[in-house]
């Protein structure tokens, strides 16, 4: 007799991609002001705090019995709306990237339609499909990000991230605000997804996934900041793609941007598909609640 697969590693990959999502395309964000790196660190801590705050709520409302279950419908409804919103954000960011860099003469509507079709197809498959894809892609993504980070080391300027003056609380908050929307708040959905689809309370796998996602995102952000400095990096529409475009290995490999374009596609696709799946599942579950 074979044991039932737990899909813990897969859940790590899926959670990590959920955090990477559209953030990997656009970090560092222009609105983060002078506290880009510190703002990100604050947002990363906030993501962990939000995750641990959401776990007991999701467990209590989605797995609990009696009165707690009565409150699960509003939670599911809110989760569905927020998941749809996140899917939309990912779609807009990726469509913007494709229409500006890859297919500048193709109508944006066509690109969006194609992307939605692929994401919807993926969302409509069994859960194992998206989990397995996430595991394969997260390994490739982590290796790619670490490799490009190391290949750029010779061009880094440590002064670019040197903190000469500690920002005051207001500066820190305004620096962290855009990152909180991009990477912290989506952490709310992770326990809901995990509880809904596994039917049990899991903390370890989603938490490691969250840490992996935050770690990979931090590497991407650091690469852009160390290479370009915050003022230039924030002006760039797609900082990581620009950073990778400066990497050359010998005379043969001078434009390796294509690799990172695949990473953007995988991250945006998985996040959009997961959000779609979560939204539909949460809505159907909410409907069946007493």
């Amino acid at each position: 007799m074979t044991a039932e697969p737990t899909y813990n590693k897969h859940l790590v990959g899926l959670t990590a991609f959920f955090i990477l999502g559209d953030a990997i395309i656009s970090l560092p964000v222009a609105e983060s002001g002078g506290a880009s790196l510190l703002g990100f660190l604050v947002a990363a801590l906030a993501a962990v705090a939000i995750f641990f705050a959401a776990v007991p709520i999701a467990n209590c409302l989605l797995l609990g019995k009696g009165r707690a279950r009565l409150l699960s419908a509003p939670l599911l409804l809110a989760a569905a709306v927020y998941a749809f919103y996140n899917a939309g954000l990912s779609l807009i960011k990726y469509t913007d990237f494709v229409s500006r860099v890859l297919l500048p003469e193709t109508p944006r509507f066509f690109i969006a339609a194609l992307f939605i079709f692929i994401a919807a197809y993926l969302a409509s498959r069994r859960q194992e499909v998206i989990l397995k894809l996430s595991l394969i892609f997260i390994v490739a993504a982590a290796v790619t990000v670490v490799l490009f980070f190391l290949l750029s080391v010779k061009d880094y300027n440590a002064e670019n991230i040197a903190i000469k003056k500690l920002p005051d609380l207001m500066e820190l908050f305004s620096g962290a605000k855009p990152y909180i929307f991009k990477i912290s708040l989506p952490a709310l959905l992770i326990p809901v997804y995990s509880t809904l689809f596994t039917g049990e309370s899991r903390i370890r796998a989603p938490f490691f996934g969250l840490l992996t996602g935050l770690g990979v995102t931090a590497l991407c952000l650091l690469e852009s900041l160390l290479l370009f400095g915050a003022p230039l990096a924030k002006r760039l529409a797609f900082p990581l793609a620009a950073a990778v475009s400066t990497v050359t290995v010998g005379q043969l490999f001078s434009r390796m941007d294509g690799i990172v374009y695949c990473l953007f596609f995988a991250a945006a696709l998985i996040k959009t598909a997961v959000c779609m799946k979560l939204a539909f599942f949460a809505l159907s579950k909410a409907k069946s609640q007493p």
């Binding site: 290479l227 370009f228 003022p231 230039l232 620009a242 400066t246 434009r255």
Partner: protein, 223 residues
């Protein structure tokens, strides 16, 4: 049945995607115009853009890549580049542009326009080397010595100097732009000149507030 239809779609796609190979006259004429270097100089109120273009024919293995230099003067960079593109039978590929040559006579406004253009134009890599010279057209319009194009010769010289540790230039586009963004007014880029032996590193061009101010000499050993 399902497998059969998948196979059919695959075969159809293969035929459709390889369609241009069967077009009469297409074989042996897959020419691509790769821009290896862009030069900018000022002509009165207008800007002259010079593009060193290497024509590559991937269908004909025997044909050697051949460099040519095309210039066009207009009141803006985009218009000048369109002028150059119009004289070619296919679009120029700016993705391989390795060198941006800045004329020493450029005004600060023009230089800012060039920086802004390179920033907005996704096809130009941020790691393109920026160099300076008196006459970009004359510098690029000569026979390459060690590679297929003068632009790549220049890249080779800069790379060699950096590898031997003789001199370390921080003259890639993103390095200079990063300093400008941080508010640093003074920056420099290698100054190149054309001699009988090809292009040579002849000094360092110093810019203050986006305007060329002086050519600093470098020692013979560094050259």
């Amino acid at each position: 049945m399902k497998r059969l239809s998948v196979c059919l779609v695959a075969v159809l796609l293969c035929c459709m995607l390889a369609g241009c190979s069967f077009r009469s006259g297409s074989a042996g004429n897959d020419r691509r115009f790769m821009v290896t270097a862009l030069g900018f100089s000022e002509s009165g109120d207008n800007i002259t853009v010079t593009a060193e273009i290497v024509t590559v024919n991937s269908e004909s293995a025997k044909a050697e890549p051949s460099p040519q230099t095309l210039s066009y003067t207009a009141n803006g960079i985009t218009k000048a580049l369109c002028g150059i593109a119009n004289s070619l039978s296919r679009p120029m590929l700016l993705e391989h542009c390795g060198v941006i040559v800045i004329g020493t006579t450029l005004s600060a406004e023009r230089l800012r326009e060039i920086f802004d253009y390179c920033f907005k134009e996704n096809r130009i890599t941020l790691s393109a080397y920026m160099i300076s010279t008196d006459d970009p057209t004359a510098l690029l319009d000569g026979e390459p010595v060690s590679s297929v194009a003068v632009g790549y010769d220049i890249m080779g010289i800069i790379g060699q100097k950096s590898e031997t540790g003789k001199i370390k230039f921080e003259n890639r586009y993103f390095e200079i732009e990063s300093r400008r963004e941080k508010g640093e007014r003074v920056f420099s880029m290698p100054y190149f000149a054309r001699t009988e032996d090809g292009v040579t590193l002849d000094g360092s061009a110093v810019f203050d507030s986006d305007k060329f101010v002086i050519k600093a000499e470098i020692s013979e050993e560094m050259k």
